[in-house]
Symmetry: C2
Subunit: 261 residues, 2 copies
């Protein structure tokens, strides 16, 4: 288990979450790198987040422009000394298509002392299996399309803009297809902050965890509705902690103290 | 336990479900009464369903026009001899406001030999606690507004147009507020057919059952996201049976036979 921490944001982060990222990266001592590869306007996205991080007290903020695999395979001295890396939103498959398997990808996995953050598409790309798209109504095989993510956080499927875009159906479809993966649906202005195999919920919304691990019956026909019985669902507001390996919420301190007493 | 059966449809019923209703009501021997109180154009709604039922082989179909409480408190000879009653869609609170507590309401509860069906708003009004409205994103106290339904099926909260309108959030909000009630989300062209304390799923979509009965932690702040951990969720396609009192899917026959062998 590394000391690297991940801050995975469901989109539309307010100053509270962005300020938390700056603080985790070291505040005035932070060396933050913004990667806007997912964005259709990367310069604009990078400068917008850069200004926000500077206004929130970050010591140093630089954009790392990576739009081709050649650029992703270059030496990345900026990244090597970063204390915080931030992936903007856009289209998640641009991230995996351009960065996946490159020297930048390897380097990012070696940055054990830094905090790596991503919002929206930048959040989706962090999971082992990435939700690429899917907006069909219903819980069906066609409701979701997945692909491999950058695997910063294995064992999970991350969806974002979760409540705002009504994405429970596609997350349920995804865990029915891959019940070994935990489905994490992160609302806007909401994030998970990982610490080893746990995460804490931050921000103004909720994180919905869908767990098909204990499901008693799963049937995924080629067409038509999926059957999924006995799945578990947890809706976690800020302050809650979830144990990923144990697939369960961690009781809050007051409960634990009561139980110990 | 009465022999009365309920056919509760999530809206947009195709000929398969409407034909099943006609057959349950007796086919050529059926005496069907259509109640379009929920509709803003009740005459149009009643004649449209009436024509469909006749085309599907119903012996006798009549509209019962009830738009005031005075009408709902009149003698209802038509209803007294009905073998099937069908509530159209529209606005569910019109049903409870006009019919709730009247002679018609009492009579409907005494029709033990008939099948009572409802679609969309007509489905919502059948539950003990009715989801009146709610379209806010997120899982919050404000995401759903409930009121008492006509209580043909107590112990449940029924939502409809479920996948099509992305209503998992409001159903989760409702069961967090009332964890003793089972949340049933019924897709369009999909229905539950009750038989005592069980129901079977019919139609082309799925029924999603949300059960907060076993939840380990529920917190509903006045504002902001609800916390709900340890809830269970079942997505049931056609052919599945659910045991309401036991709050669990009934294993299919083939599984039961394997277990018995």
């Amino acid at each position: 288990m590394s000391s690297r921490r991940l801050l995975i944001i469901g989109g539309a982060a307010g100053p509270g979450l962005l300020g938390r990222f700056v603080a985790l990266a070291g505040g005035p001592a932070a060396r933050i790198v913004v990667i806007a590869t997912a964005s259709s306007e990367p310069d604009l996205a990078a400068s917008s987040f850069g200004e926000a991080f500077t206004a929130l007290g970050a010591g140093e903020v630089q954009a790392l422009s990576i739009s081709t695999r050649a650029e992703a395979n270059a030496e990345q001295p900026l990244l090597r000394r970063a204390t915080g890396v931030f992936f903007t939103g856009g289209e998640q498959e641009r991230i995996t298509r351009v960065i996946g398997g490159t020297r930048t990808d390897s380097l990012l996995h070696e940055l054990t002392g830094a905090v790596i953050a991503g919002t929206s598409a930048g959040a989706a790309a962090m999971s082992g299996t990435m939700i690429a798209e899917g907006d069909a109504p219903g819980i069906t095989r066609a409701s979701v399309r997945t692909g491999p993510g950058l695997e910063f956080l294995p064992g999970v499927l991350i969806d974002q803009h979760f409540a705002e875009r009504g994405r429970v159906n596609r997350l349920l479809s995804a865990v029915a297809l891959y019940p070994h993966e935990l489905g994490l649906g992160i609302d806007e202005d909401t994030a998970i902050l990982t610490d080893g195999d746990r995460f804490e919920v931050l921000g103004s919304g909720a994180v919905t965890v869908v767990d098909a691990g204990a499901a008693t019956d799963i049937r995924v026909p080629a067409q038509g509705p999926i059957t999924l019985t006995g799945a578990r669902i947890h809706v976690l507001a800020a302050g809650h902690t979830f144990h990923l390996a144990g697939r369960r919420p961690v009781a809050d301190a007051s409960t634990a103290e009561r139980e110990a007493a």
